[in-house]
């Protein structure tokens, strides 16, 4: 007797809906066993991860703050991936956006520059992110260079460029030579939504981005083009859609969103430019994009969910002394099950009994 995966005739919509739930269920079962082995009360641990962060305003704000850059970047990436354009360098576009926007903040520091500063920073950051993303896109279209490699390599360039700026020209003159700019002026800072909290305007912008992406993909010809070029390139060619043009467009949009996320993070929660402004947002966003099935609403949920595991992981570490490694295992198991369950959308399990079949050589 053998268990094999058999391709379904068509994708199962039922499974597509319930597979995330199955994945979460399997994760909970696995983690329960793991917590029990570690000698922790599984119920309390799961409560600390999933429930406690949702029960007070502070943690909810933190979840939103953490999810904001992830969702914004992932929305842009989803457009690329839907159009079969593989932008892996959102991290670099995030950093370049942060650098470009910070340029205005640094140059206007201590002057009586008015309320135009923050909007100008946001616009410049988006433009810079888009331009930076166009480098791999144009290399792809003109020279056939793999955009996966070029966009990834440009991450390191951006990282070192930022590093150079904060260690050299933009270093805080009163900062004992430590590698950071001075704190941004209030006009160069993203406003908070709740006094004394951390929720900032960026979260609203992220929601607007989600809505805009939903309209673009669901209600416009351009969105239709993006989906057709990705799903059926041949059909798209017959339909007269220009795949190269879409690569340029989706890269530019995703670069702009990553750049915007970068400056919002720097001018918001961080408050100044320094190395290490991103704990890998650009890469985590790739996971968020796929976890959300490249669907704007799905990405919003996935981003919030991933943020929940971060916040919950910290609270579990504090409340129950559960090591950080367990949180990482937890996130890993979750992603594993999500991907595993997703394969059931296109495949199904089938039991095969070799003795009832004619032997096919390998048996």
């Amino acid at each position: 007797m053998q268990l094999v995966l058999e391709k379904r005739a068509e994708r199962s919509n039922t499974i597509a809906l319930v597979s995330p739930l199955i994945a979460i269920g399997l994760t909970i079962v696995t983690m329960t066993i793991l917590f029990a082995i570690l000698g922790k009360n599984p119920l309390l641990a799961l409560h600390a991860y999933f429930v406690a962060p949702l029960t007070d305003s502070y943690s909810l704000q933190e979840i939103a703050v953490k999810a904001t850059p992830l969702v914004m970047i992932a929305i842009g990436l989803s457009l690329c991936y839907l159009a079969n354009a593989w932008n892996i360098g959102a991290e670099g576009q995030f950093l370049i956006g942060a650098v470009a926007g910070s340029w205005i903040a640094v140059k206007t520091q201590g002057t009586d520059a008015g309320a135009w500063v923050l909007p100008a920073m946001l616009v410049l950051a988006a433009a810079a992110g888009a331009l930076y993303a166009l480098i791999p896109a144009i290399c792809k279209v003109k020279f056939g260079a793999s955009e996966i490699l070029t966009s990834l390599m440009l991450v390191y360039v951006a990282d070192l460029f930022l590093d150079y700026l904060v260690r050299g020209p933009w270093r805080d003159p009163h900062g004992f030579n430590f590698p950071t700019t001075a704190e941004f002026d209030p006009v160069a800072t993203v406003p908070l939504l709740i006094e004394g909290g951390r929720l900032h305007l960026g979260s609203i912008i992220a929601l607007l981005v989600v809505a805009a992406a939903a309209i673009l993909l669901g209600r416009t010809i351009k969105g239709f083009e993006i989906r057709v070029v990705g799903a059926a390139p041949r059909a798209a060619r017959f339909g007269g859609f220009n795949a190269n043009q879409l690569i340029i467009l989706t890269f530019a949009v995703s670069g702009a969103l990553a750049g915007l996320a970068g400056i919002i993070e720097v001018a918001g929660p961080v408050g100044h430019l320094q190395p290490g402004i991103s704990p890998g947002y650009g890469f985590t966003a790739i996971i968020v994009a796929f976890l959300g099935r490249l669907n704007p609403l799905g990405i919003l949920i996935a981003g919030l969910f991933l943020a929940l595991t971060f916040i919950g992981g910290e609270q579990a570490q504090i409340a129950m002394k559960i090591p950080l490694d367990v949180t990482k295992v937890f996130q890993g198991i979750l992603l594993f099950y999500v991907l595993a369950c997703d394969s059931l959308i296109l495949y199904r399990f089938k039991l095969v009994f070799p003795n009832r079949q004619v032997a096919r050589g390998t048996g």
Partner: protein, 358 residues
């Protein structure tokens, strides 16, 4: 709408702090760590300090730590999480936590914070650090004696003043033994990345260095030096088990006594915001046993250690000549003053390299 949101937030905040206060029988002390507690270097030593604290005052306090907290936007949240969990004294153990710690400190004036290796303080935020350059000076003496090639290999983390002053102290000491000593410097641009650190050590050895020193946190360089039959210094912690025939000595961060002092002050209600920068004399760090060297070198190292501890020997004794040949202004009388060392941003003469960002 905005008002009701505010009221809701305030109510939740209040409810949170009340329940936290009533649950606090023991003093809760929190720690934020940069690396994993198993890094065997910087974070490991902080955790050793925390364990010493628990051993000493375990019946009066409860400690909690968050490990692997990146020095970016996540740090502020992590610190605030500790506050909200009822911790009244919080140690944030890396330079990059400075601004996040300050932000949280301003928000919670009744909680006390201790930030390691920074320079910003507040009514409820102290700083603490150690004069590691003193230990570097001793290492420089040993290195110059032990090196046959006359080339030292130095793995830097980030070109910040603490690291630069360590390199300068090393070279100033080495020049007293061998005026023509050379040093090769590689910037790893990380505090903890065993792979990168190992690569840096290999590259340095390939360039002729036969004594490896590091300002990064893992024992990887020690292992490489050991494989290649070279000598090396440990960093932060005792690394002799990674190079029994390799380690000359190691600068050991000994945070335990400081943590115990500060927690005792907190318990007694006498905690004050302070700026602590202790050296060998105040036991903020120690030197591991001097091993794998002849007796005369060992004697020299021990003498230097005694002289520094007694305040008779200062690594940055004037005149100090910078790389560009200009003599550095001597603000501390016979030596550079603390401010000049804490903000050090130049190489001394004899370092054949360019300081990044200069």
């Amino acid at each position: 709408m905005r008002k009701s949101l505010l009221a809701l937030a305030a109510g939740l905040l209040l409810a949170g702090s009340v329940s936290a206060a009533s649950a606090a029988d023991k003093l809760k002390v929190g720690f934020i760590y940069l690396g994993p507690i198993g890094d065997l270097g910087w974070t490991y030593q902080h955790d050793v300090g925390r364990q010493a604290l628990v051993k000493e005052l375990g019946d009066k306090i409860e400690t909690t730590y968050l490990e692997n907290v990146p020095e970016g936007p996540d740090a502020e949240r992590a610190i605030e999480q500790l506050v909200r969990a009822g911790n009244k004294l919080i140690f944030t153990t890396s330079f990059g936590y400075m601004d996040p710690t300050l932000k949280v400190a301003k928000k919670y004036p009744n909680v006390h914070f201790e930030h390691s290796t920074g320079y910003k303080r507040d009514k409820n935020m102290s700083t603490y650090s150690a004069k590691w350059y003193q230990g570097r000076y001793i290492q420089g003496l040993i290195a110059a004696k032990m090196s046959k090639s006359g080339v030292l290999g130095y793995i830097g983390s980030f070109p910040i003043p603490e690291v630069v002053s360590g390199i300068n102290a090393t070279i100033l000491a080495a020049q007293t033994i061998n005026p023509n000593i050379k040093v090769k410097i590689i910037w790893a641009n990380t505090w903890f990345d065993p792979g990168k650190e190992a690569d840096a050590a290999k590259a340095l050895i390939d360039q002729g260095a036969d004594v490896i020193m590091q300002h990064t946190d893992s024992p990887a360089a020690m292992q490489i030096a050991s494989e290649r039959g070279k000598l090396a210094f440990g960093q932060d912690s005792e690394m002799i088990k990674f190079g029994p025939k390799t380690q000359l000595t190691s600068i050991l961060d000994t945070w335990g006594p400081y943590y115990i002092d500060r927690v005792k002050a907190e318990l007694a209600g006498t905690w004050k915001s302070e700026d602590t920068w202790g050296g060998l004399d105040s036991h903020m760090f120690a030197m591991a046993p001097y091993t794998n060297m002849p007796d005369d070198v060992k004697k020299m190292a021990e003498d230097a250690q005694a002289a520094i501890t007694a305040g008779k020997l200062h690594p940055f004794k004037c005149p100090i000549v910078a790389q560009d040949g200009k003599t550095v202004e001597c603000k501390g009388g016979a030596n550079l003053d603390d401010g000049q060392i804490l903000g050090m941003n130049f190489y001394v003469k004899g370092i054949d390299d360019k300081l990044p960002g200069k």
